[in-house]
């Protein structure tokens, strides 16, 4: 197998709100743009497109936004490739080489500049029973509702739990889909005075927030505020969920724990983390801020990272939502094109709007601070790494014996060496290290390695051959 070749001025990784805005801005400036996305349709997570014509989500604003953004980028001349998963990126003379699994075939994309808008993923925190089938991410539940028939496939009660404003959006998706939601378990209840303060500063967001509250009521769920899930119970699948109220110091009061039985689906989420595999592989500098979802790519106001020619946009720069994503995408796309000599439009307006949008996101993050430690102490035999079946006890032993960084824990225990490359266990390992007294910024992160996503070996070989040709040609 040899790799297909594509050559462009600006490659954009990710066709969500940020990537599509970047692709459009760069293409409008006259650059040849290729925009790659692993999913079957553009839109990313926020603007994911339904697969069923009669989906209750077909006429929603995010779906329309995704469709319009993809059309605008296409009309500007950007080439959008879906089903195209980037599994490696390298600096080569004159730019970058991206290795892509394009629907099972190797594709090498050569670009003079690169905009990474890889988005975010849920930040999974392990808790007792979290590997039982039926326990899924809150985002996974939303994805099923939005892209499937609109009914969750598992029988039994449905529980939505965790922390953060995204849970309200998922509850809204339940209401929209007409899917029954039985219990809503929320760690925090922000003080009304604090909520009022945020919306006094951002009144444009008030209608959306009010609708979220109404839709949660419409979902019919029993609401457990100031509670958390302390255990998922079952033998070969989820059967029951244990919840407990939180004390003033944020610890679950186990004496007042209760069980919800007959549960088929527990959708649980503790916020989001930026997807940084490609930017870490390219050796860009990253910073840690809990309110931004933890480790994120460092960039200046234009989206320029610490690697020449590499730009970042959207959640790769820190969790902020769709509005900052679109604005930062436009800014980075225009910046990348301008640096290559194209006359990109002025983005001063977008830069000002981005400041305001980020301020709202950060105010929201303060209302719902993402938990940094493990929500519940893990028994020794509970798994932290699902790929390699590495337990909390294995990891505690490694830390006690001197593994004081994520990378050391990985080499010691294999946690993070499986196909997820630490994307799923990273937050759990960081929390275990934090518990042992190693703060997140010292624990660092595991730099991604080849391949970023599992891919058949012939594709890796073909793509590496193409990369070597770019690296060594005269």
């Amino acid at each position: 197998m040899s790799a297909a070749h594509l050559s462009c001025d600006v490659a954009v990784v990710g066709a969500g709100p940020a990537g599509l805005a970047a692709a459009r801005a760069a293409a409008e400036a006259g650059a040849r743009v290729v925009c790659l996305d692993a999913f079957a349709t553009p839109g990313g997570q926020y603007a994911m497109q339904p697969t069923q014509a009669e989906s209750p989500f077909a006429a929603t604003a995010p779906v329309a936004l995704g469709r319009a953004a993809a059309r605008a980028a296409g009309e500007a001349g950007a080439q959008i490739l879906c089903g195209a998963e980037v599994f490696w990126g390298a600096c080569v003379p004159g730019g970058f080489c991206l290795s892509v699994n394009h629907a099972g075939r190797a594709l090498a994309v050569e670009a003079k500049a690169l905009v990474v808008a890889a988005g975010a993923m849920e930040r999974p925190l392990p808790f007792p029973g979290w590997t039982l089938p039926g326990v899924i991410g809150a985002g996974a539940a939303q994805r099923l509702l939005k892209t499937g028939t609109g009914a969750l496939p598992l029988p039994g009660k449905t529980v939505l739990a965790g922390s953060g404003p995204f849970l309200l959006a998922v509850a809204q998706s339940f209401a929209k889909a007409g899917q029954r939601l039985d219990h809503f378990v929320e760690m925090q209840r922000p003080l009304p005075a604090d909520v009022a303060k945020v919306f006094a500063r951002h009144p444009g967001k008030l209608a959306e927030a009010a609708r979220l509250g109404l839709d949660l009521r419409r979902s019919g769920a029993a609401r457990h505020v100031g509670h958390m899930v302390t255990r998922a119970l079952g033998t070969d699948r989820l059967e029951a969920v244990e919840i407990a109220p939180l004390s003033a110091s944020g610890q679950p009061v186990m004496g007042r724990a209760r069980e919800i039985d007959g549960v088929g689906t527990l959708a649980i989420g503790y916020g989001f983390q930026p997807v940084i595999d490609l930017t870490t592989a390219l050796d860009a500098a990253h910073d840690f801020h809990a309110a931004l979802g933890g480790w994120h790519c460092r960039a200046d106001a234009d989206g320029r990272t610490t690697v020449a020619g590499l730009w970042a946009a959207g959640e790769t720069l820190g969790i902020g939502g769709a509005v900052p994503a679109q604005l930062s995408g436009r800014i980075a796309g225009a910046g990348a094109a301008r640096t290559l000599g194209f006359s990109a439009p002025d983005v001063t307006g977008a830069t000002q709007a981005l400041g305001n949008a980020r301020a709202f996101a950060s105010a929201l993050a303060q209302l719902y601070p993402p938990p940094q430690g493990l929500p519940v102490a893990l028994p020794e035999d509970e798994l932290i790494c699902r790929c390699e079946d590495v337990t909390a006890g294995d990891i505690a032993t490694a830390i006690a014996e001197g593994a004081h960084e994520s990378f050391a824990v990985k080499t010691w225990t294999r946690a993070g060496m499986g196909p997820c490359q630490g994307r799923i266990c990273g937050a759990g390992i960081a929390a275990a290290l934090a518990q042992a007294g190693v703060p997140a910024d010292k624990a660092s992160y595991n730099r991604a390695h080849l391949p970023l996503r599992p891919v058949p070996l012939p594709l890796v070989r073909a793509a590496m051959q193409a990369q070597t040709e770019m690296e060594t040609r005269p």
């Binding site: 999913f39 079957a40 069923q52 099972g104 991410g137 985002g139 996974a140 099923l144 699902r386 079946d389």
Partner: protein, 85 residues
């Protein structure tokens, strides 16, 4: 909604076209894989292509069920060792 027939571990199953394959698999059972060392049952977790818990074999090739869309005639196997890279 147009319906298609797919082969699920050799047995024909009728479902809507274009659905996330995970929806069809979960309607049968919440798990279809075993974890590597403990052999514990596993099913879809992240639903967005990053955790690799929902891996199946589609038309002979390793694939994440959450990224697959149902299409006429596709053969999905969960009962064979994964050809995991």
């Amino acid at each position: 909604m147009s319906e298609v027939e797919i082969l699920l571990d050799g047995a024909p199953v009728t479902c809507a076209e274009g659905l996330p394959l995970t929806e069809v698999l979960m309607a049968r059972a919440p798990f279809w894989r075993q974890s590597p060392r403990q052999g514990a049952p596993r099913g879809m977790f992240c639903g967005m292509g990053l955790c690799f818990e929902c891996v199946v074999v589609v038309d002979g090739a390793w694939s994440r069920a959450c990224l697959e869309r149902t299409r006429a005639g596709m053969s999905v196997r969960t009962d064979q060792p994964e050809d995991r890279p």
